[in-house]
Symmetry: C2
Subunit: 280 residues, 2 copies
DNA sequence: CCATCTTTGTGCACGCGTTCACAAACGCAT
DNA sequence: ATGCGTTTGTGAACGCGTGCACAAAGATGG
């Protein structure tokens, strides 16, 4: 998880200890809390007082047992026979995620994506305040983006220190990402959201999360190809495929591994996915 | 993680069967193939002929054992004592991911984010071709974005059919996402990349992947808060903590139970109200 | 107060993913 | 040929996450 996920490299040696330590919410649960929060907020705006695990799970697109287990890590916030108090749960999750406080962030690299992020309403509405937009291009300095003036990266360190910024968003070209990252960390940032397609190396204690737009598409392409291949194979159902092939056949041309690979993928994909029914 | 994580809901009941059956690459491995591909492409551009699992793993930001196991699902493409042939591996992974063919995609919702995606170079360079940019706002129709004219969503069905588009990207406001999704699916799209903060419901056989920009930040905030809290606790090391607490003691750290919840949640909720009208 | 119904909270089992550790395989020098 | 150093490929163990299924707990009605 996806996970994917999504963390760049998440060995986290203390993870085991974390759970045993009274508190300590599994990463998978933390990753779902924002989903629940969104669903709950929607219910809250419709003035729905309580919600059952079944309903909320449907709204968040997850399994109800999973949802209950997730909430059990936060504490016993439900009432048996009734469900969960929406307002109370919104508050508890917000607090657990740290959204009851203000998080100043800096966005470095005001290209198309930086633009989009600066204008993204989902940030401000959840306690994330854009402390500054930074770009190395002096030509952009002073230009207003989402109501904020773009400032030069020379000011990075000062801004981070005076505004106590602990979260940085990198939307620079890949070549500049590591350097920007190093400066952010040196100035005091301890969490980085990286949109540049680069592996960042950071010292211990600094969290990096990566969002790569093209990776998601590539994963979709994989499944798409598999679907198409399954249909083809269902139609023709060719010969008994290539021999198990000991490592003997060295990859020579570009051609020989191909049919062996394409032959046995199995046709499970078609019947796949039975859930994912209603949600809203 | 991530999803990570990142699939909308990915239980995949047939996963076990898939693996056992000859081919069938684990989802976690598929999600990492693009990382390897990127690292390999960089090596290829530097004309590096071969690379060891250790080196490549470092470049991709993963563990070398994991990388070797991932590659073992593709076949035996390495040479013991030497490493992997870069060019050959680039081809094999590209083929496995389906990047050796052309994937036309449509982007629906040409706001800030749609703009950014249309300009994103990572797509075109990997076999993804933007077949059309679509928006429901007639005011945008004809306007050039990334060299392509924005077209009205009325043309969606025709474009999808004539260009055989199977992948759609949704960057609309959340309110329009489900409707757009339904139309995409009805017209023949079977893979959807959703940037709108909504749970989409789709029929069987359609893949949905979700990218939520604010969720990543919220996860970072959680860890950030934990770091701060740990420091605090390490410093003061307060009383033996709260009692194991039967369900009795509602957490009244702020004020008192639900009332506190309501008021605080109210504060949080107010700030959140306008919610994401962005993105679109 | 008791019975019944609803829904939570969780013990348990299972499967996927990760990591370790090592034998097999290969190149190369002698 | 033979031996040595290197690196792959994978068997096996382990831990995390998921989902089932049910007992406990509260609500509700009589």
């Amino acid at each position: 998880m996806a996970t994917g996920r999504s963390t760049q490299s998440n060995p986290n040696p203390a993870a085991g200890a974390r759970r045993s330590r009274g508190r300590g919410i599994p990463d998978a649960t933390v990753a779902r809390l924002p989903l629940y929060l969104r669903a709950l907020t929607a219910l809250s705006e419709r003035s729905v007082p309580t919600v059952s695990s079944e309903e909320l799970a449907a709204a968040a697109g997850v399994n109800s047992a999973k949802l209950r287990k997730d909430f059990s890590y936060l504490g016993s916030y439900g009432t048996r026979g009734v469900g969960y108090d929406v307002e109370y749960l919104v508050y508890q999750i917000s607090r657990e995620l740290g959204l009851t406080q203000d998080w100043p962030v800096v966005i470095v690299g005001i290209g198309n994506l930086g633009h989009a992020l600066a204008n993204y309403g989902g940030f401000a509405s959840r306690g994330f305040r854009v402390a500054a937009l930074l770009d190395a291009d002096s030509g952009l300095t002073g230009q207003l983006v989402a109501g904020l003036p773009v400032r030069h990266t020379d000011e990075m360190e000062e801004i981070i220190r005076t505004d106590r910024v602990s979260i940085g968003v990198i939307t620079t070209p890949p070549g500049a990402a590591q350097q920007v990252c190093d400066r952010l960390v040196a100035a005091g940032v301890t969490s980085i959201l990286n949109f540049a397609p680069t592996v960042l190396s950071v010292p211990d204690g600094v969290d990096v999360r990566k969002v790569d737009l093209s990776i998601e598409l590539q994963i979709l392409a994989f499944h798409e190809q598999r679907k198409a291949g399954d249909e083809l194979r269902d139609a023709e159902e060719e010969a008994p495929a290539a021999p198990p092939a000991a490592v003997v056949s060295r990859p020579e041309g570009v051609a020989d591994g191909v049919e062996a690979a394409a032959s046995s993928a199995g046709r499970v994909g078609v019947a796949r996915q039975k859930f994912e029914e209603a949600a809203g």
